[in-house]
Amino acid sequence: MVMQLSAKQSLHLPRIAELIRVEKLSDREKVFEFKFDDGKELGQMPGQFVEISIFGVGEAPISVTSSPTHRGSFELAVRATGSLTNKLHTLEKGAKVGIRGPFGNGFPIQTLKGKDILFVAGGIGLFPLRSLINYVLDNRKDFGEVNTLFGCRSPQERLFIGQLQEWNTCKDMCFLETVDRCSDDSWTGNVGVITTLFPKVSFDPAKTYAIVVGPPIMYRFVIAECLKKGLAEDHIIMSLERRMKCGVGKCGHCQINGLYCCQEGPVFTYAQVKSLKEAV
């Protein structure tokens, strides 16, 4: 007990940020771009999250969807689900919020450098993964072959459509997309769950890391597919969702067995997750 603390160091104290852009992604999702009032950067790594405050409503943990290579502002893509996120969806440009963070370990950039990468995103799992995909594209020479698979339930639930279009035509990586089902002819692409894309990509399992983010049900099938393709358990990387109330390893809500998702996570390898009985 020798450290000198002051109230200004309160773990609960957020920085004020201004909402500078809102864009609708789908019926339930929007992307919000923020800039700190003090002009400073968020300084996040891909895969980290922030606690966003709306004063009078509360706080919620949200992953950062923009890449740190994008300077001057940052983006949070959010599904309206709980009280905070529903309120957030009503905010307009110019609104002020509180931001704490970035928190969590983020994706292991150093480990991934020089390696081939297979990105697998399911639904809004694209939000945290988009940060890393864009980071890799912006630092393309640091990485090997890149394959990206994205799946969502229906064409109406596709997110960041402009971005998907860019990735589709981008020569720096192979991008494949599918929807679980489509009842009309508005969609001419792949139909089927995300694992149906696996036979369509080729990668060297010895050199490849798979980065998988999606709903719990998707992990079960995608991990089985990765293992079948010969990926090592510690080459399969996932980001887990928990109720991270404080972000600083105190409140206990995000605990997965003995680990705190906000500290040791939210990014884990499958080798780690396998030994965590409560993980998925």
Binding site: M1, M3, L5, S6, A7, K8, Q9, S10, L11, H12, L13, P14, I16, D37, S53, F55, G56, V57, G58, E59, A60, R79, T81, G82, T85, K96, G98, P216, E241, R242, R243, K245, C246, V248, G249, K250, C251, G252, H253, Q255, I256, N257, G258, Q263, K277, E278
Partner: protein
């Protein structure tokens, strides 16, 4: 620092002086509450009941209040936000060794990585005057947890050795406080008396953990699927009482409270409990510990393994409060650990 001996009368004078002069801040002491005991602000030394078995709530509430405002804010085009830290000096008198061990766990959790100003600033300003527990509660098992006696975490530790209290001096802060009181230097004979009294008290504990505390993590590691968790949790009300009285439960919830005039509001944190059904639920509706046996098991793992591995202190100090509070009579970690061991 020299250990001291103080007569009961002079101790009362010392306490009254602390109350009057506020030399160590507001004086909080253990006192009778109907047929039970609890910590509260002391008006005079006569209220102090150092012969108690267990306090209803552990003294953690003074450092980690049930509800604590952490931010105040005013709404507006740019909200004005101020951190709130109440760090008034306090002197707690009559803290049992196992509750001191609980506070040490709090120091490890809240003072380690990402130190928490709200809790640690109070801790840094506080004085802890402990007292050895000579009349343990029938549900307590601190003797088998190795927490019935402590050699750290206090400024002064009192032990009732008959007509006098033996005063073990733990810190310089404690030393300078006790120097103001009328005391004698402790002799080797006094220390022998203290040690005997402590040893005799260990024998009064009625609940025994049938293993060494450091064997619990391995026991839990090998028994994730144990039927004991299901059997015990079957009658759990998920009321969270066990957590609410626990000296080592550190978890909280964070909530906003807008003021009635809607000009601003407060953000506060308050005790939360992993035994409550929504503790691990996320906004999408997914609940990562949906079933009560999962929550029961999680609590037992926190008590016996997780906190120890993370912070070097066991998450259970054997005070027995959970066992006293639990209507279903399932909460005692000692009982669960013993059952798992016996079932092997």
């Amino acid at each position: 620092m020299q250990n001291r001996v103080i007569s009961k009368k002079d101790l009362a004078g010392f306490v009254d002086d602390l109350i009057k002069t506020k030399a160590a801040g507001e004086v909080i002491g253990i006192q009778a509450k109907d047929s039970k005991f609890n910590f509260g602000p002391l008006k005079n030394a006569a209220e102090l009941r150092l012969d108690y078995d267990i306090a209803l709530l552990p003294p953690k509430k003074y450092f980690f209040p049930q509800i604590e405002t952490v931010l105040k804010y005013e709404f507006g085009a740019t909200p004005k936000v101020e951190p709130v830290v109440n760090d008034k000096a306090m002197c707690l008198i009559g803290v049992h060794p196992f509750d001191i061990r609980g506070l040490l766990l709090f120091d490890a959790v809240y003072g380690g990585a990402n130190p928490d100003a709200n809790l640690m600033m109070k801790r840094q300003k506080s004085v802890i005057i402990g007292v050895d527990c000579l009349t343990p509660n029938p549900k307590a098992f601190a003797a088998s947890m190795g927490t019935a006696v402590t050699d750290e975490g206090f400024d002064l530790m009192l032990t009732d050795i008959g007509n006098d209290y033996f005063v073990t001096v733990g810190t310089n802060k404690g030393d300078s406080l006790i120097k103001k009181a009328k005391t004698k230097e402790a002799t080797a004979a006094d220390q022998e008396k203290r040690d005997k009294v402590r040893k005799d008290a260990l024998k009064k504990y009625q609940v025994t953990l049938k293993m060494k505390p450091d064997e619990i993590p391995a026991l839990l590691d090998a028994n994730w699927e144990s039927k004991v968790f299901n059997d015990k949790a079957a009658t759990c009300f998920s009321c969270g009482s066990c957590v609410m009285v626990c000296p080592t439960c550190v978890c909280f919830d964070v909530q906003d409270d807008p003021a009635l005039n809607l000009k601003g509001g407060e953000r506060y944190r308050r005790w939360d409990a992993c035994m409550l059904s929504e503790f691990a639920k996320v906004a999408s509706g997914e609940n990562f510990r949906e079933h009560k046996e999962q929550r029961f098991r999680h609590r037992m793992y926190r008590k016996g393994k997780y906190l120890l591995e993370r912070y070097k202190y066991l998450g259970c100090v054997g005070c027995g409060r959970c066992a006293i509070a639990c209507l279903a009579q399932i909460a005692s970690p000692a009982e669960t650990f013993n059952l798992i061991k016996e079932a092997k």
